[in-house]
């Protein structure tokens, strides 16, 4: 990785390389020997059943943020770019990975020929453009708007000052030009995030599967024969929620093929961890806490984050020290914040506050319980309130909390984009723009100190980031965890061994 001057956009690092060596190292660690039958090619057919900690609910790429929802989105939708086995960007719906033009400000996106959505309608460049517009839709920006925020004119469009998104020009049926507000050579990494998926006017996706039904129990999907890589191996895919015991029982009983949970499922044929990219940040609501906020902040800042991850995250975890999760930055593991004496003596008696946490995301309850105890030791009594998906987001947006634990599944492996995603989820679009502008074009080494400064400015308390473990049954083949934690569900197939 060449060392680059910090302030010069030129020469831009090539987009394929920007997340740096870390990803390569990570990938090397990830390609564990998963089951692969000697001398057997993939077979088609059958049903692959996947269990998550909770059943997925959201299929809209613009709105999905939970790891489980993202898995479902990736099953239904296709993104312009993909990640190859080495963690590099590779073409998806696009014919090739776009190279930066105009000093890293413009990208020419060219679609493959003959692409179709699962409902049969052709995929045009205008559909890709519509995906960006959807993310910035004026009736409340999507939580994944970070992808489109750097596009020229995004701010004006979002504020309603412009009717169209100036930075996106459709050149032909298969080609469009995206111009960014400022140079950001690593922007193509956003095109591999599930939120960049292209959705047809009728809501159909172009992913390996088509949604057949979605209810409280889970999602049922069928193979999409029109996927650009060809039809997936499995005929059907089921994604549901299951608690650890039920999942272990189902896996050993042959009622499940894959379990994605923080902890390894006992009795699974093989397990592999995903990179810890689900980063959790504590957000302190100064407006509600007033002078008490400083005390809370000091308690949170004094936490031993390495120990926190070790003791309270069941999956693979890494301490996080900035708004860019450690695996993306890949710098040396940041030293935990200097321990200072918790419990400011200034406030007598027990203060009470509301600690908001996401109910559906693993380990958030354990983390909230730990923070409760640490705050209690410092004389602050916190009531943990765990809320499911929509309610959590609504309360977060309404600032209806004193301290909130915000989990962010980072989906782009470039520091600037990851920082933007985290900033958007925790502090809103303004913070996201600022984070992306400051981190744009920086290599990992230079991004780390900048990210740390940003974290202080945005007043975030980074805690840790976690991943999941994929536990597969004996029949499941073709499982590969990408560097961004995604799994191409279309590649999963079942080894059927029958007697003569």
């Amino acid at each position: 990785m060449p060392t680059l001057p910090v302030n010069e956009p030129e020469p831009a690092p090539s987009p394929e390389r920007s997340p740096g060596l870390a990803i390569l190292v990570l990938v090397a660690a990830l390609t564990l020997p998963l089951p692969a039958a000697a001398g057997v090619r993939p077979a088609y057919g059958g049903e692959v059943r996947v269990a998550l900690p909770a059943a997925p609910r959201i299929t809209d790429p613009a709105l999905a943020t939970d790891p489980g929802d993202l898995l479902l989105v990736r099953a239904i939708h296709a993104t312009p770019l993909e990640l190859d086995a080495d963690g590099r960007l590779s073409p998806g719906l696009l014919e090739e990975v776009p190279a930066p033009e105009a000093g890293g400000r413009a990208f020419r996106l060219r679609l493959r020929a003959g692409l179709r959505f699962s409902d049969g309608t052709p995929i045009a460049a205008s559909d890709v453009a519509a995906a960006f517009v959807r993310l910035l839709a004026r009736e409340g920006p999507a939580p994944n708007a970070w992808i489109a925020l750097p596009v020229l004119g995004a701010e004006a469009f979002q504020a309603g000052r412009a009717a169209t998104l100036a930075g996106v020009q459709v050149l032909s049926d298969r080609e469009l030009l995206v111009t960014l507000a400022s140079a950001m050579p690593e922007w193509p990494w956003a095109l591999a995030a599930p939120a960049a998926a292209v959705v047809s006017r009728g809501g159909a996706g172009a992913g390996p599967f088509v949604l057949q039904g979605l209810d409280g129990a889970g999602a049922r999907l069928a193979a999409n024969g029109l996927h650009w890589r060809g039809r997936p191996f499995a005929d059907r895919l089921t994604v549901k929620g299951a608690d650890p015991r039920a999942a272990a029982r189902a896996l050993s009983g042959g009622d499940l093929e894959l379990v994605l949970r923080p902890e390894a499922v006992p009795g699974a044929t093989a397990t592999a961890p995903s990179p810890p990219l689900l980063a959790t940040y504590a957000v302190v609501n100064w407006r509600r806490l007033g002078s008490g906020a400083e005390r809370v902040r000091r308690v949170l800042g004094a936490l031993d984050r390495a120990e926190l991850g070790k003791l309270y995250a069941r999956g693979p975890s890494a301490p996080t020290s900035t708004l860019v999760p450690q695996p993306v930055l890949a710098g040396p593991a940041a030293a935990p914040a200097s321990p200072s004496a918790p419990g400011a003596p200034g406030i007598p008696g027990q203060a009470r506050l509301v600690l908001l946490a996401a109910a559906d995301v693993p380990d958030q309850r354990a983390l909230a319980e730990r923070l409760q105890v640490k705050l209690f030791d410092a004389g602050v009594r916190a009531a943990a309130e765990l809320e499911g998906g929509g309610r959590f987001a609504a309360r977060l947006a309404a600032e209806d909390f004193d301290v909130a634990l915000v989990p962010v599944q980072v989906t782009a492996l470039a520091p600037a984009l990851a920082g933007g995603q985290v900033a958007l989820a925790t502090r809103g679009p303004g913070a996201a723009r600022r984070a992306m502008t400051e981190l744009a074009g920086l290599p990992a080494a230079a991004a780390a100190p900048r990210a740390e400064r940003l974290t202080r400015t945005l007043d975030l308390v980074p805690l840790f980031s976690t991943g999941v473990r994929a536990s597969a049954g004996p029949a499941l083949q073709g499982l590969r965890i990408r560097a961004d934690g995604a799994i191409d569900l279309g590649d999963l197939w079942l080894l059927r061994r029958e007697g003569p």
Partner: protein
Amino acid sequence: MLALPALLAALAAAPPIAAPPAGAPPPPALTAVAADLARAVGAPLDDRRGLALRVETRAPALAAPLETALADALARQGYAVAPQRGAADAEAAARAGGQDWLLRVQAGLVPGRREIALVGEVIPAWESFFLQRRPGARAVPPRLVQARGAADPETLLLGREERPAGAPFARVRTLTRLPGRVLALAVGDAGDGPAIAAAMPGAVLLLSGDGAVRARREPDRAGWAPVRDPAATLAIGDFGGARLAVQWAGAPRTEVLARRGDRLEVVASLPAAPLCAADGARVFGQFVAGTGLLADLLAPVVDPAARPRSERTLYGVAAAARGGTYAFAALGTDLNLVLLGPDLEPAGPVLAGAGVGFALADLDGDGTAEVVTSSPTATAPDRVRVLAPATGRPLVFESDPLDGLLLAGAGGDLTGDGADDALLGLVGRGPDGAPVTDLLLVTSDLRELP
């Protein structure tokens, strides 16, 4: 071209003839090559006509017919031939017998070719007038003669050597390494001797029997339907003027290819996939739409109206080069290998747990093909296994563990010993991490055995 010293070295350890000649006339190929050698020996010199003939072959069965053929050919040259067998010192025996010449002939099959080679040493056996005080001294320097010619099947059969006790059934060695992943293999006669064809995701290669790339073609993939798991079928056989036919999964039609220099050019196209070909027989099938798997459809002719026999899907179909009881084999996606007769109907036990890198090859030359396949275990490493379903001992050979996956295979005679060999594609990763395919030769040719 095999160099003469190498040939000599290969023939050096030939044991003496053990059995008396049979009354049957020698095969034509043997007669022809014997005549060539006799011509090389030439007419009798100085009216010295007495000739002791000593024939030495590695294959015992070859000695007697060859002796007969040589004796006839030499007699036509004007020699009075006296076959000599069993003597420990042939030269001394010839001298004692008052012969003028001793012709020591060593014979064998040329490795990798269907050829028989004869090397003769013409040794003077009369007493040297000048060197009388040195008994055994030769009056004139001996002279080497040689002849080689195409071996007919009968000759090949006679030329096969007997397996020494304790020798392994077969040997596995890497023939060559190809960059990329080989999807399908075919072995056969491409018009100028044994050849190998290999289909890769973006190319088809034609290799010589020893693994050298002779010609290639990179198809234009426009209009192909995407297939998640790339697959191809190809066969070397008689496809109406050209010898090679290939179809990739997702491609609209089968390409029939002919070699023009170092290029393979499309000379025709077919609406069915060539699954395998051997000994005049061809089997056509079709891919299940959108997948790399084959429908349960095996047809001896191109029949666009043919429909699959069942919902079963197949990984591939193999043919035995010379037919026999088990002329074909089809591997289903349930990993059950069904052995089929020449009529494409089931003809033997169903073998459970065969891998997709498999071939039918009559390695031991007993007229019934063995199944060469990968290991039936679900985890790496892979192994080459040879199963002989016709015998009471199904597993006759198992190789050491191999670093990679056996994903393609084909059978045919590549060593030129007259018996089939199997060629398996071992897909692995090269030093730079890119996929490579080692073509493994599985042979029971004794010359290949350690």
